[in-house]
């Protein structure tokens, strides 16, 4: 029998009934009285000076109610790395210069979308095109066009991570490998595009409904950009159709709708088209990877040197974090005695690159795990064995960087090894490749410079025992509403149906940094657990008085039964105590408060999850087509709060990360994305989805609520690497640049020297 009543159960998600009946109202569905529709005019040039914008004809079009350009804004620049003003480089509505094809220059509000679109054609913008640069390796050259003032060689962020002495260590190695990899871009492809309904009223308050991962960030950034007090900006997150890292920065829909609404004092709705979604929202950071790995002949890894240059696109966004994390996770999940990472982020005149599920780790895992397999082959060591030999273990310290508490990597390796043995006899041209990973449960480094606790929650118990849970955490589909409700119910000792969650509304919920870096379960979960415990303690005070038990006895609540822990039959109903407590407090409702900020956990993350994935592929050697047959993942994420949720996250991660591995890409020509439509952007559909299997390893993370830590993001790390290794195992060719397309595989097969059996 489970020791928990709620967590670990297979439950229906709390937002379920609304979603399966079509009742859930997304921002996409919101219609307000007198609402207008906005459309954004975007630059057709990758790099140009704006000489003049004439909006007079557009303003005269019947049905147009407002037109705004950069000149109508306060002219501020913003960025999510608020701590570093030089990285706050994006005006959103450009005033003097545009830096990528799609950079906004004007926005129109009209009575309907068609009129707004028609009005865009009537806006005359005079540009002076400037020389542009599209590849980071070109952008860092002396003679490259400068994209942002004061940023030499277009390198806007550098990062360095080091411990030990890599150069000395290489001298002691028996084998050294140097390899290069190229990691592509990827589109988030949320089913709901970026959208916002902004309503500025005559009392000077702005309300914005928007599809977002972090209503608090949007509130703070909007306030800053609009010259409003944070308290006069309310951001409400309705059910949100996906985020995956694209929706926690201030975007053009939110900003432009707000600016327009402030000008005309009417609600304005902007919904980005799918084409805008592909071309003018942020995307996964493409990276050039250079790796040098040194090992002893018994497989012990002695040193790793990593150099990365990332394609930053036109603005910084979260790209600075991706740059750091890719370097940090390049050291995962192994114990390197000596390590050095140098990362450079270069601006280019392309759509800005930023955060996407995995945050630099899918890239580092693809490169690192590919190289590790190559090293293993050179040394004649089994791929599982070399990982076992060097894999992280519980309580490992990443020198000067992080402290790993729980770690189930070795158990995951064991399970995968067993799985591979079971699939012993594979058909010809089939192969199984593995990749191991470790990932963070939220980030610590406070680049947003928030004064608030990273997560906070409020619990309010009503007279009938129903509990209102207020949290800033944002459910974007990953299920945080359900997971947090489960944590609350478990801690408070009630049933899941007793909890009603209110989330993501800055007007009524305490601030939370949002759903990114896989932080909600651990960080907000801790806040919720503390809030529930606070409320519970207030009830226990009254229960203790009522039961009058010996002072040595502890009390707790389970299944709505307040009882002595050691004598559970002695107790009283939760419902009765709630009534008595409220009476006892002179009619005041019971409020529990909780917050969480990781302290003394280093600067990266309070906890890490680990896993090993095995991908089985079949390769058609005449066409190069790679078929994903089976993806089996052994992973550990501490105590599993919401098992249905984790399974969903895993299978969804395989779809996304598998796509990154073999079919998703954003080819460009002169800064223009060539496939800005779903028909042209290839992604995995149901017929393409492989069989999936999850092997859950039991671990317990002391830092997490009930021992839980992240699951949803780490699971996107290994798939590209596992596919690359599988293709090699199947047909003996190495593809070092993503995606692994049939054409690349076929070319490699043809170039492979014929091998004697």
């Amino acid at each position: 029998m489970s020791k928990y009543s709620v967590i670990g159960q297979r439950v229906r998600r709390v937002d379920g009934p609304e979603k399966v009946t079509g009742n859930a109202k997304y921002t996409f569905d919101i219609v307000l009285p007198n609402m207008l529709y906005g459309k954004i005019l975007r630059s057709p040039h990758p790099h140009a000076r704006i000489l003049n914008i004439d909006t007079s004809k557009a303003e005269k079009l019947i049905g147009v109610k407002g037109v705004v350009t950069g000149k109508d804004t306060l002219g501020k620049k913003q960025g999510i790395w608020r701590r570093f003003p030089e990285l706050c480089d994006e005006e959103i509505l450009c005033r003097e210069k545009v830096r990528y094809v799609g950079d906004p220059v004007a926005v129109v509000a009209a009575v309907d979308e068609d009129t707004a679109e028609e009005a865009l054609d009537l806006i005359d913008v005079e540009y002076e095109p400037l020389p542009a640069v599209f590849d980071p390796l070109e952008a860092i050259k002396e003679d490259a066009p400068q994209i942002h003032d004061g940023v030499e060689l277009n390198i806007n962020v550098t990062r360095h991570i080091e411990w030990g002495d890599v150069d000395e260590a290489f001298k002691k190695c028996d084998r050294i490998r140097e390899d290069q990899f190229k990691c592509s871009s990827q589109a988030h492809m949320c089913m709901e595009t970026h959208d916002a309904v902004a309503s500025f009223d005559y009392s000077g308050k702005l309300t914005v409904w928007t599809s977002t991962q972090a209503s608090y960030y949007i509130q703070a950034l909007l306030a800053g950009m609009l010259g409003l007090r944070e308290g006069d900006v309310r951001v409400i997150k309705p059910p949100t159709g996906g985020g995956f890292g694209s929706k926690f920065e201030l975007d053009s829909a939110q900003f432009c709708a707000s600016v327009l609404s402030m000008k005309i004092c009417k609600p304005v709705k902007i919904v980005l088209s799918r084409e805008e979604e592909f071309t003018a929202t942020k995307r996964r950071t493409p990276m050039y990877y250079y790796l040098k790995l040194g090992a002893k002949k018994d497989g012990t890894l002695l040193a790793k040197e990593v150099r990365v240059i990332t394609d930053g696109g036109a603005y910084t966004g979260m790209g600075a974090t991706a740059l750091y994390l890719t370097g940090f996770f390049s050291s995962f999940p192994y114990k390197y005695p000596n390590y050095r990472y140098d990362g450079y982020r270069a601006y280019t005149n392309t759509a800005p690159t930023s955060a996407m599920r995995g945050f630099g780790a899918p890239q580092s895992t693809f490169a690192g795990e590919s190289q590790l397999d190559m090293m293993a082959e050179e040394l004649g060591i089994d791929p599982v064995e070399i990982r076992r030999k060097n894999g992280m273990t519980p309580d490992y310290v990443v020198p000067g960087q992080a402290f790993i508490q729980s770690c189930g990597l070795h158990e995951c390796l064991d399970k995968i090894e067993e799985h591979i043995k079971q699939r012993r006899k594979l058909p010809p041209n089939h192969g199984i490749g593995i990749a191991a990973y470790g990932f963070m449960s939220g980030g610590i480094f406070n680049w947003f410079d928030t004064p608030y606790a990273f997560s906070a929650a409020l619990v309010r118990i009503n007279i009938d025992g129903k509990v209102d849970l207020f949290t800033g955490a944002c459910d974007i589909g990953q299920g945080s509403d359900t997971t947090l409700s489960m944590i609350c119910a478990e801690e408070l000792g009630v049933k899941l149906e007793d909890i009603r969650i209110h989330a993501g509304d800055t007007g009524i919920c305490p601030a939370d940094l949002g759903a990114w870096g896989s932080r909600e379960t651990l960080m907000n979960g801790n806040a919720v657990k503390r809030a529930a415990a606070d409320a519970k303690n207030q009830l226990l005070e009254f229960a203790a008085a009522k039961l009058g038990a010996n002072i040595v006895y502890d009390m707790d609540i389970k299944d709505r039964w307040i009882h002595l822990v050691d004598r559970p039959e002695r107790g009283v109903s939760y419902f009765d105590i709630v009534k008595e407590a409220i009476r006892g407090k002179d009619g005041e409702v019971i409020i529990g408060r909780g917050h969480y900020t990781p302290h003394r956990k280093g600067m990266i993350s309070p906890a890490y999850s680990f896993g090993v994935q095995a991908a089985e592929v079949g390769v058609d050697t005449e066409t190069g087509k790679v078929k994903l047959v089976n993806v089996t993942t052994a992973h550990e994420s501490g105590t599993v709060i919401n098992p249905v949720g984790i399974e969903g996250q895993l299978e969804g991660a395989i779809m996304m990360a598998g796509g990154y591995g073999f079919c998703e890409d954003q080819p460009m020509d002169e800064g223009k994305i060539l496939n800005p439509s779903i028909a042209d952007y290839k992604l995995i559909r149901s017929l393409d989805m492989p069989e999936t299997k999850i092997l859950e390893i039991d671990t317990y993370e002391p830092e997490g609520p009930f021992g839980a830590k992240e699951a949803g993001e780490g699971l996107t790390n290994p798939t590209a690497g596992a596919i690359a290794n599988a293709v090699y195992k199947a047909v003996g060719v190495r593809i070092n640049n993503l995606p692994i397309t049939p054409e690349k595989v076929l070319r490699a097969l043809k170039e492979k020297p014929k091998q004697k059996k």
């Binding site: 399966v20 109202k25 996906g242 799918r274 969903g648 439509s677």
Partner: protein, 159 residues
């Protein structure tokens, strides 16, 4: 010049006047106010707008409203009978066959159309049935499990 459009949606008759260029999805969402059907693309690729027209699963963004004149349309809002959910809806809830939920209406209608045409589809046929619908969250397998559960009779409708 607007033209008359008569159709039934979820058993309810409607009489409207629409511009010829109006798409069926616009009539459902904007004119009638049934926002359960979503739109996720501009090139008929995502399937989020899937509804049933005269018993067939179709993409409502790719049909002129006037072509549905006289037709019987069913949307996700018509699945439940009052508060009693359709077996597919119950299965989706139990099997976690949705996450962000934006593709869910389309998935449900595609699945319903599939089962009404063929009550005992194979796993491959179920995959084909929803292949026109993109989901970015679930990886499809939970949806397939949910539909399979209905096929196996786990949610026999009470008469």
């Amino acid at each position: 010049m607007k033209k008359e459009l008569k159709l039934t949606v979820n058993g309810q008759p409607y009489e409207l006047y629409v511009k010829p260029k109006t798409l069926l999805v616009q009539v459902l969402r904007d004119h009638i106010g049934l926002t359960g059907t979503k739109r996720g693309c501009s090139d008929s690729s995502c399937g989020a707008c899937t509804i049933m027209l005269n018993g067939m699963a179709v993409k409502s963004c790719s049909i002129l409203a006037l072509q549905a004149n006289g037709a019987e349309v069913h949307t996700v809002e018509g699945l439940a009978k009052g508060t009693e959910l359709h077996p597919l809806q119950k299965a989706f809830l139990d099997y976690g066959a949705y996450q962000c939920g934006f593709c869910t209406s389309g998935m449900l209608m595609a699945s319903r159309a599939l089962l009404e045409e063929n009550p005992k589809p194979t796993k491959e046929q179920i995959k084909e049935g929803i292949d026109g619908n993109i989901c970015r969250c679930t990886g499809y397998n939970s949806i397939i499990r949910a539909v399979t559960a209905v096929v196996k009779g786990e949610y026999k409708e009470e008469k």
